[in-house]
Subunit: 245 residues, 4 copies
């Protein structure tokens, strides 16, 4: 499938806004973070250009690449984010997601560096993540030296498969020794998830340093809070919610 | 008792201001928090609508419900906060309070998640809370699956009854694995309490991580500070203070 | 000695500025903090009025009291800070100080609540405080119930006498279970000290939570840094410094 | 070599901007921090004047000193930073660096006070520092009482020699009980390094307090991230990068 570049305007704008928002919310310092959006009909992904400051981003500077074909650039004059291949692996494995966000936000990164999943200690967490936020294993040496970024995505997917997780009920994963990837039905939603993850990660950090033996909340409370916001019987907010919003 | 909606203007304005103030002071991030005010003569409560961003709130958007009768909406076109039933339980059990605030403010939530009461480590705490800030037990499974929000309020009330606490001398409670509820003679005062609780919770967190064996202050010092601000012999400020202000 | 109120203008202005500055620098939240300045020739102290918000302070609202005579108000229509008697004890015992500041700034208060002196872990500390910042013992019950605020000042003075400390080389003390008092040759300097104390207290907190066995810096390094800024051989800055500036 | 003062304008401006930037980024509070830039052709260094507030700095207020000859002032009317001799030692030993920055930024100082090197716990760190950030030993008493500032620089150089470190791959060092020194090909780059060091130090602090047994990342991951940004095969950003940029 070969798309006409004039069709990419909406996708470019959504991806650009999400990247700018990452910086504005303090989730991406320096150039540590990138967001992408997918158009599954056109089979393309728009992603941040590599190493460009957030203040300089415009919709035109986004790089549009093929979902298939090894991520070949189909529109745009800059080099895509070095993390592109990780994004592509997630889009391929998680068919329901519309946007991916990678940040080194402080507390999420701290849990990733400590190589610990984030336990569900409270209802703030349960409102958005249906259980502990998982962490990958460290990559093997060969996975690092060859095809590193794609292997990072594969490590996330493997972890989700092993734990039997639904990516829309668990819209985030920590990568050991690295940072987090988040996603959602849209890239705007993925930014919101990244923000919530940071908040929840900070609360969990302080909880466990206050009480190393703190228990996760009971399963019925986890279900109650997640489902009152996201299930078919949701009663939070002013309308029935979709499970991913 | 059936009130005329034109009588709700003052109550709506007070509730709206309190909700806006929660966000302005950084006590409620995202939509984690809500405030309500009661008019005991009219028998009605004005509360935040569910899931509406703080920036969009107006006095007209507040939802007015009956204190009795299961919290039936008597005025307003939106759905009330999903935590309404918790507020109503508190108003019914604590007859002297005029406003209730629920926030997931960071440090108060951390103590709730760690399932620990907040010891009174200093005079900052003693100036406003007459002893350790209590924490509820976790709810039983049935209390979660049926009538969850009302049961949350009942767990607070039970805790206060067991400890023999006066709600105006201890204007806050932590809910295990969830967050805090605060109250006061007015909803404006309840917001102030929520802010002070967050401050005191942060100090206590750092105190106990610095010295796990730190002692609470002696009882005479607790009484001295609480009563110089709130007792009949209060001498702080420019006038005799009421015990709740 | 009875002074003419027209002579208090400079003192009132200095005290007012210092109180406003406490709030502006984030050292005093809510109404937790007060500053005073002394005119030793006139034998009077100007101090913050009790319970008045920092935004409402003016030079005229400062309360001028006698250093002797039990702190009798000699000029001003408001009630003085409830901590007045503590300030007066410090002025009486430490003849070289010109201003006193009391704050519940976060980290200094945390050390006071943990009942630990602040060790000198680095040169930032040594640049301003010549050794560990001391902490008082808890007051006895009778000292709390009778003449509490004066006894707080006496506890500080006793601690300095026992440790043989020079108040200009150690311009701060923690009060157990309460917070800090700071001072200096002027009240403006006392505010600066309170700010530095908070900074140093935060660094020390994170140092000891990172390494519980961290050693204080060696005595020669403590002397080197303190004296290159404050001793007769000081060589920091653009001129020879006085020991308290 | 004796340079004409008119040749120092560019150097003065670069040094001034870097000092102002230290304060603007929150890396230097009070007067804790200074930056210098070198012109190796002219054999001179421009450095912050001692004790002058950052807001008052201008290019003209920078002090220009000789690299050789004991740091004699060759242009400028103010006294140079008391840390000048440390800067000069670093310029003499590390021939490829163009700027030096000294700050007491919070978390870097905490690691220095705890006398611990900063382990490389994640890719954020690996992107900029090729391994753990080293810490010096404490100076001997004689090194403190005589020629203290030069000995501080020598302690850094000795540490780098013992560990066989390349100053452009490890552009920072902690000084035990003191704070950090950073450097780079330019003084602007040294400021960036100081900012990154603070960020990485904060992440490492929270990592190790969350999991005292956290492992550093594997060597292949360290190399991968450092070299994808800085090596001859770098593929991050929009152009091939120099190893120091």
């Amino acid at each position: 499938m070969r798309a006409d570049p004039s069709e990419f305007a909406v996708l470019r704008t959504a991806a650009c806004r999400a990247n700018v928002e990452l910086a504005r919310r303090g989730l991406a310092r320096f150039t540590f973070g990138n967001a992408s959006a997918i158009d599954r009909e056109l089979g393309v992904v728009a992603i941040k250009p590599s190493g460009v400051p957030y203040d300089d981003l415009t919709p035109e500077s986004m790089v549009v690449v093929e979902l298939g074909g090894g991520g070949k650039v189909v529109d745009g004059s800059l080099r895509p984010s070095s993390d592109l291949a990780t994004h592509l692996e997630l889009y391929r494995a998680f068919g329901a997601i519309g946007g991916v966000v990678h940040t080194h936000s402080h507390y999420a990164t701290v849990w990733a560096q400590a190589q610990r999943e984030i336990p569900c200690f409270g209802t703030t967490h349960a409102d958005y993540f249906h259980g502990p936020v998982p962490v990958t294993a460290h990559l093997e040496s060969l996975e690092i030296t060859q095809d590193y970024e794609a292997n990072t995505g594969r490590a996330i997917v493997r972890r989700f498969e092993r734990l039997g997780l639904d990516p829309l009920r668990m819209p985030a994963c920590l990568v050991a020794g690295h940072a987090s990837f988040c996603w959602g039905a849209s890239v705007a939603r993925a930014v919101e998830v990244a923000n919530l993850l940071e908040d929840v990660a900070r609360m969990a950090y302080d909880t466990v340093t206050l009480n190393a033996a703190a228990d996760p909340i009971p399963a019925p409370l986890l279900d109650k809070h997640f489902l009152r916001k996201h299930g078919p019987e949701a009663y939070y907010g002013q309308e029935r919610r979709r499970s991913d919003d």
